[in-house]
């Protein structure tokens, strides 16, 4: 498991769409994150440990941080951030 740090009072908000929502069961999760932040991929690894069905979904998904595409999955995310999981789009 990861090193233990006290979570910040303000969590990170995880937005889960379509198959990601189905895998987790809810459309959003408030996820604890240390005040100094954590890399997005490590944070999602924590989420996957709790929701294993999400692992396969994440492989085909794009990530958005605060509404913008997150090119680097190792980027640091922190309290108050909104991290969205976008499975393949299905509009139209």
């Amino acid at each position: 498991m990861s090193r233990r740090v006290p979570p910040a009072a303000v969590p990170l908000r995880l937005l889960l769409f379509a198959t990601a929502r189905t895998a987790v069961g809810v459309p959003r999760l408030d996820w604890p994150v240390p005040a100094e932040g954590r890399s997005a991929d490590l944070l999602l690894a924590d989420v996957v440990r709790q929701y294993p069905a999400l692992r396969r979904i994440l492989r085909g998904s794009r990530l958005f941080l605060n509404g913008e595409p997150l090119a680097d999955p190792a980027a640091r995310v922190g309290p108050g951030d909104e991290l969205a999981v976008h499975p393949p789009y299905g509009g139209g």
Partner: protein, 146 residues
């Protein structure tokens, strides 16, 4: 330039009005309607669309800018429904207007093709009216409309 992500019915007449303008001799409108495709629970009666709203609006606006830049069209429409859309209703309306027909066709085709690829919208199928028997997320290549 007209983007819309709307829980209310899309007006095709309004789309044509948005594409009207002096000198715009060629107008192309594409309407994607919900089809009653078969499912194990019976034919689809509706699709429920969800969107990641802010990025979806930005993606629609970016598509329009790109369509104008690439094809030289003067007016464009890129509208998508969210929420429950019954069979036969329009889930998506895109269109383009230019002096001549060729760029209007190219831009309209570009808008719907790229909308499907780039705009964070997803659909779930509903096979029975009003009920939500179990989660049926949109398959990777699901295309019950358009």
């Amino acid at each position: 330039m007209s983007t819309r992500l709307s829980a209310r019915p899309l007006s095709i007449a309004a789309a044509h009005r948005a594409l009207d303008g002096p000198g715009l001799g060629g107008v192309v409108v594409f309407v994607g309607r919900v089809r009653p495709d078969p499912t194990p629970a019976g034919p689809v009666v509706a699709l429920v669309y969800e969107a990641h709203a802010a990025p979806a609006r930005r993606a629609l606006a970016e598509l329009e800018r790109e369509a104008r830049r690439r094809f030289g069209v003067e007016r464009t429409v890129a509208w998508h429904r969210v929420g429950r859309v019954a069979v036969g209703e329009a889930a998506v309306v895109v269109g383009a207007a230019a002096a001549h027909r060729r760029p209007a066709f190219q831009a309209a085709r570009f808008l719907i093709d790229e909308l499907k690829r780039r705009v964070p919208v997803w659909k779930e199928r509903r096979a029975r009216p009003g009920r939500r028997p179990r989660q049926r997320p949109s398959p990777r290549r699901g295309r019950s409309a358009g």
